[in-house]
Symmetry: C2
């Protein structure tokens, strides 16, 4: 099928760019140095491409993601890089032969893992991002508690999520160092083989972690584009222009086709005015030179035609993919594959 | 099952509040005076509740929604209140015995309807919202074009979406009147039985339309809560507190559980700091008194416990429901039903 024949809205991934991103990352962080985060794409088919590039360890943010990865045979070493209080379903996956490790940061989450029959945990340490993780000085006693319950402690985890998006490389490097010093302090007391940390923004400068939990590098987020990373934007939403007036045009992809927490999707060469549930209103021929809000000039001429197809760049890839049930993989203008986004939900 | 036993995150609807909202609306706009918009909930089970309250005409925003409604037997009078360029699948629904009408605002969309074997259209008129719809003065010639192709023109449609959220009732009333004057001008030339318009915010003041296309009234959006309407907020996302530090707490519902275009979900009695993909970080005991950004006070004490369950109010209901695959219906704290959100996707 040609790209032009796809019903819209459609989530499209450029096969060449994806492959190039995967190849660049596996060259920089081969094999077990990278633990791809599947939350970024929620697709076992895409995860299989990552495995083809040499990565057989994966991490995930939800139990559903772990279940789906195990079912797809990608079960060699699955880390739920998140805290859960009911790990029952995770225990079922572990008892099926998958290696399952779960992040813990409290006695409650350790006990939940124990009750569910999970065998291994990572002590999740807060390294500056206001989210999960214990204090570095609490890590040892949590590891001890886990040990008492018969759980193997594989090491520590700590996500420097407050640092990964810093545009200035030296600030990013310094922030990463400070975070990893906290994680290394915890590791010196906890021990274990794994120091799991990092993301796409710090995959180069985080030299402390034994494995980097990057996900966005595969499809790339526009926010990361400012960091000067070698990865290319590989995903867009194909949309059809369904209505044109003298002042603006309307396409058929809206709030239910895009994660909106980073704002409107971008349309190169046009100004996006706003999204409705199933619409995007834009002014053609007026580039979005800046991201600051500016007064709307309704006098701008419209050049789009009804039936035109446009490529919209999501503001945030992860929550965008969670709205779609499949990835259309294209090579040039040919749709060469369709991958289910099969890890959605919880 | 008890609400406390639901795996989280879970989308929950209060049965009593939903029923009360449906009853109030059907009293104000009985039978065919209301054409419930299913885009708001994307659930045929909820649509059946609306039919039980006397409404058998429905409108939708996507072809998938129309297909699902027809499959569920709710096919008496289905309006796709949106423009489409490939109406093939819509034609299949029409040929299955459903009454299917589609909105058109250009020769291209009229011809697409004709090619697909659709029998009836509404001329969509722009009444001030920068989105779809022809100019009022173009409506007659479009109706004529539709007639030449053998399509029945049932009347006009015009959505005053720029008005429905205006908090001041007299401004809302005036804006509605101005919009409807434009629509009535178009109707006077197009003719037909239907003048389809309106939404939850204008269901009372829009006395020009023969039918009101309201959807949000069933579950209610927090934005609409400011309008003084008689409907109650009936939906929340149940989430578990998975991590607590001295300065904040973290729950397990994030960017993939909430439409974010209206900002963070609300947590009564707490300050929501930010959402990540699968997390919400909040400061317990500090109410969100204002919506303006304020410096974060990290010194605030945290009172939440790991394992606590919280009820998060979505900023925008429609794109929130599109992330979830089911509605858990509760009465007091008992889960009494589970309705698939079966109209997702396109």
């Amino acid at each position: 099928m040609n790209l032009e024949d796809l019903p819209t809205p459609a989530l499209v991934v450029d096969a060449g760019r994806l492959e190039s991103n995967l190849a660049k990352m596996s060259e920089a962080l081969p094999g077990a140095r990278l633990r791809p985060h599947v939350k970024a794409h929620k697709s076992t088919e895409l995860a299989k491409r990552q495995r083809a590039h040499g990565h057989s360890l994966f991490c995930a943010a939800t139990i559903r993601e772990i279940e789906g990865m195990a079912k797809a045979g990608l079960n060699e070493d699955l880390l739920l890089a998140n805290e859960v209080l009911d790990a029952t379903r995770l225990g079922v996956v572990a008892s099926s032969g998958a290696r399952v490790t779960v992040a813990v940061d409290s006695r409650e989450t350790i006990e939940a893992a124990g009750r569910a029959g999970i065998m291994e945990v990572l002590i999740d340490v807060n390294v500056g991002l206001p989210r999960c993780g214990c204090l570095p000085e609490e890590a040892a006693s949590l590891a001890e508690h886990a040990g008492k319950l018969g759980l193997g402690v594989r090491g520590v985890m700590g996500y420097e999520g407050h640092v990964v998006g810093q545009v200035d490389p030296s600030a990013r490097q310094l922030g990463c160092e400070k975070s990893m010093q906290a994680l290394m302090r915890a590791h010196s007391e906890v021990g274990g083989d794994l120091i799991s940390a990092g993301g796409t923004g710090t995959y180069q400068c985080n030299t402390w972690a034994t494995e980097i939990q990057a996900g966005s590098y595969a499809l790339m987020d526009s926010a990361y584009a400012e960091l000067g990373l070698p990865f290319e934007q590989a995903v867009f939403v194909l949309s059809s222009v369904i209505s044109v007036s003298s002042k603006f045009a309307v396409s058929d992809a809206g709030l239910k086709a895009f994660g909106m927490d980073h704002g409107n999707p971008a349309l190169p060469g046009a100004r996006v005015l706003f999204c409705s549930d199933e619409h995007l209103t834009f002014v053609p021929g007026r580039a979005d030179e800046d991201t600051a809000p500016s007064p709307i000039d309704w006098e701008s001429p419209a050049n789009a035609k009804v039936g035109d197809r446009i490529r919209l760049i999501p503001g945030h890839v992860d929550p965008t993919l969670a709205y779609h049930d499949r990835i259309h993989v294209v090579q040039d203008d040919l749709v060469v594959d369709e991958w289910p986004i099969d890890l959605r939900g919880w």
